[in-house]
Symmetry: D3
Subunit: 176 residues, 6 copies
Amino acid sequence: MLRGLYVGRFQPPHKGHVEVIKRIMKEVDELIIVVGSAQVSHTFENPFTAGERVLMLKESLVSAGVDMSKVYIIPIPDIAMNHVWPRYVTLFTPPFHVVYTGNPLVRRLFEEANFKVKGHEMILREKYSGKYIRRLMLKNDPKWEELVPEPVVKIIKEINGIERLREVASTDEIIA
Amino acid sequence: MLRGLYVGRFQPPHKGHVEVIKRIMKEVDELIIVVGSAQVSHTFENPFTAGERVLMLKESLVSAGVDMSKVYIIPIPDIAMNHVWPRYVTLFTPPFHVVYTGNPLVRRLFEEANFKVKGHEMILREKYSGKYIRRLMLKNDPKWEELVPEPVVKIIKEINGIERLREVASTDEIIA
Amino acid sequence: MLRGLYVGRFQPPHKGHVEVIKRIMKEVDELIIVVGSAQVSHTFENPFTAGERVLMLKESLVSAGVDMSKVYIIPIPDIAMNHVWPRYVTLFTPPFHVVYTGNPLVRRLFEEANFKVKGHEMILREKYSGKYIRRLMLKNDPKWEELVPEPVVKIIKEINGIERLREVASTDEIIA
Amino acid sequence: MLRGLYVGRFQPPHKGHVEVIKRIMKEVDELIIVVGSAQVSHTFENPFTAGERVLMLKESLVSAGVDMSKVYIIPIPDIAMNHVWPRYVTLFTPPFHVVYTGNPLVRRLFEEANFKVKGHEMILREKYSGKYIRRLMLKNDPKWEELVPEPVVKIIKEINGIERLREVASTDEIIA
Amino acid sequence: MLRGLYVGRFQPPHKGHVEVIKRIMKEVDELIIVVGSAQVSHTFENPFTAGERVLMLKESLVSAGVDMSKVYIIPIPDIAMNHVWPRYVTLFTPPFHVVYTGNPLVRRLFEEANFKVKGHEMILREKYSGKYIRRLMLKNDPKWEELVPEPVVKIIKEINGIERLREVASTDEIIA
Amino acid sequence: MLRGLYVGRFQPPHKGHVEVIKRIMKEVDELIIVVGSAQVSHTFENPFTAGERVLMLKESLVSAGVDMSKVYIIPIPDIAMNHVWPRYVTLFTPPFHVVYTGNPLVRRLFEEANFKVKGHEMILREKYSGKYIRRLMLKNDPKWEELVPEPVVKIIKEINGIERLREVASTDEIIA
């Protein structure tokens, strides 16, 4: 039995994520998807709550035909100690054997903690990037809807996500 | 669409939990299972890590035939502010409409925060209690194996859980 | 100008507190009242939120004719470092010149941090004690109403405080 | 009885704040003033401690003839979870019925948590801004003294606030 | 080069500790001594600050002729996650190859994190125990002075440690 | 007996640090060296763990002939409250009588907390600066090796420090 780990912030989940997840699941029996920076929301970099991201991910994977009995979606708040972070992740997850990431820091931290890491090839990075999608949303450019799975479009509209993004981005000074 | 929330520490998950979950799932479309006190482990009250509890729960539900595309298992670390706790739970979970709990404090906190709460009838409480099961484990009484789903027995044996429980229970003074 | 500091948990504020505050205010020009353990609520030891305690204190002092332009009521969450605590208190308060307390630990900590401390004589301690009042509430013994200022009775009834106390006290195992 | 909430960082309190508070108090019976980011001090953005800000606010309001038996000044440390923040604020405050704010993020967060929010018209924003006043202080331009209430001038001089601001602003690298 | 780790709370350091350290140093080239629960002080269980304990340890080892260029004394605050704790310890210490401990929980945690652990034989445990020494202090029984190194007697007297212990032990209810 | 305190981040320790320490030790009997921001690592600003910095400092001082029975090297994690920070430092250190620092914020904070502060003259600042050394490392310019003590070169090579620095610097977006 081989279990993999895939880490992201998913602000929001996009088609690139789903594609990567489907590819990884051909290599492993089960996959743990960590929704990182789970405590953060309502900022331009992190507009959506962890719960909203968990919901969007689940709906997108179900809609993509992924077998949810083989997937764990686990939100994890940040810990402000990079060196300790990989062990901290294992506190919240079933044991895993390989980490999938394209992020050099994540790779470094897991490798220094003696985990096996595989770099997933980033799919159409410039297109499927959370930052690019958030910028389209900010400009009210409907192209963002093509870059994310359909359930994500639906959920973001239900929670007035575009409006939220625009309001939090306009705040020059956070009061508290 | 009706989504429910069920909170527990699951130290370990037992047949009573599975029974309650199956009953709740007849009343709701989707169920969020919160694994509380997620940061704690390696004590007599909380021997297992959140990740181990997530794994045991998932395997038990799959083995009980529960449709995992309708279930969220979400570990949540404690926040030391009872009044704030229900809102804090919603940070990590999809939106929910009804809370299932037999715990008076949990009921009180959610009710004061304007959530709808339903008390689930506790099933054979004296038998299906985490504390009772941990005591059996401590005494090396194999009866505990009958009180938990089969996958839980298997996982606890794989991780030497009984040995761990006995060692952490013997420590009279925690050094750090 | 002489400013004093008085620290308590005020679970709930009682007539003894008001008496002490009035006596201190004869010795100082202004008084800072720190509502300690501000993050805690909904336990038997700490049933009321900091905000509820602030409200009860303010109403009681106004009702006792205290000049509120000479009083600061400041809720402060605990910091888990006794040695650092007095300096931490000064982060949230205007500067003060003398600390009033009957608690040996509080006296010790402020004295080691070079503050002047005066022990207030405890007024009818066995009667005017938070713990004794909470026990009366738990037993539904209406004598508690005589031990606290009238606004406290009113506020506790409005928020169903007795019911809350009884429910949180009945919880043998806190889930989260 | 109508109670309002007004949130700010008050670095330092200025005449605009006092003006807004006086206007709000015509609409409500009592006003809770939250001093946000209470844990922060000694930076260019946040030079003054929460206690100093509480003192400046109180003195300014007394000096402006505000009835202090109708005002709560409550310092609240940040919590690094935007979604949870409004509920967290209610932990430290008496219950309130309407939130006054000109900050889009604060408005958004309270509205999503089902609070009633009223935007106060910002008075002479470019003039009465904390950042502008701190910049004047940094340049040693005495014009800042006209923008804040007289007690604020007095207190800042007593604590050598200008000197502090200049020193903390000059530190390019914070050691700890 | 072989480096060892030895963990304790050292409330206070006693002759048993020094004996164990001297024995370990015959087996390793360098020794890291972790002063655990570093944030705690001024309680009966933990009367002394981490800094006081570091000072007492250093003076005791110098007085015992230990070569201080081969010893690291590192205070580490608790982290409320047992599973993560061993990795967290490595954040603050040079790399080490073997852990010396007589505490079952510490042994368990390091072993589960794949560290090599050696149980040191506890020397005259009933005599050389922090708890026993603190009880003697509380009763004003001078026998405690025989159980700790001379520099520890001197330092505890300089800081009025016995008086502190008695005061913090007498406090039935901690206010903050 | 005069004990001094010297605070730095030591990312990494360089010859300027060693020079300053040797000069201070002519003025004091014992020196406490605080390794600040101890929780941070694996960023461009803070590439090395506290433990690695403690090791590099110790080896450098031994190599420079410093008597280690007169030196304390104490890693201290940040506390996000500037006003409280000096008292917090004293929690982890033996008592000290004078603080050595060239950092205006550190000087300010200790002076406001009534400590005696002496500004050490910065030695060849433009050359001996952590930031400058990290930039040389990033450019693979071997000149950095001349700016740090020999043991630091050796340790950084052993832990693949240059490679680590380059990888963490390349990460534009931190996932967790």
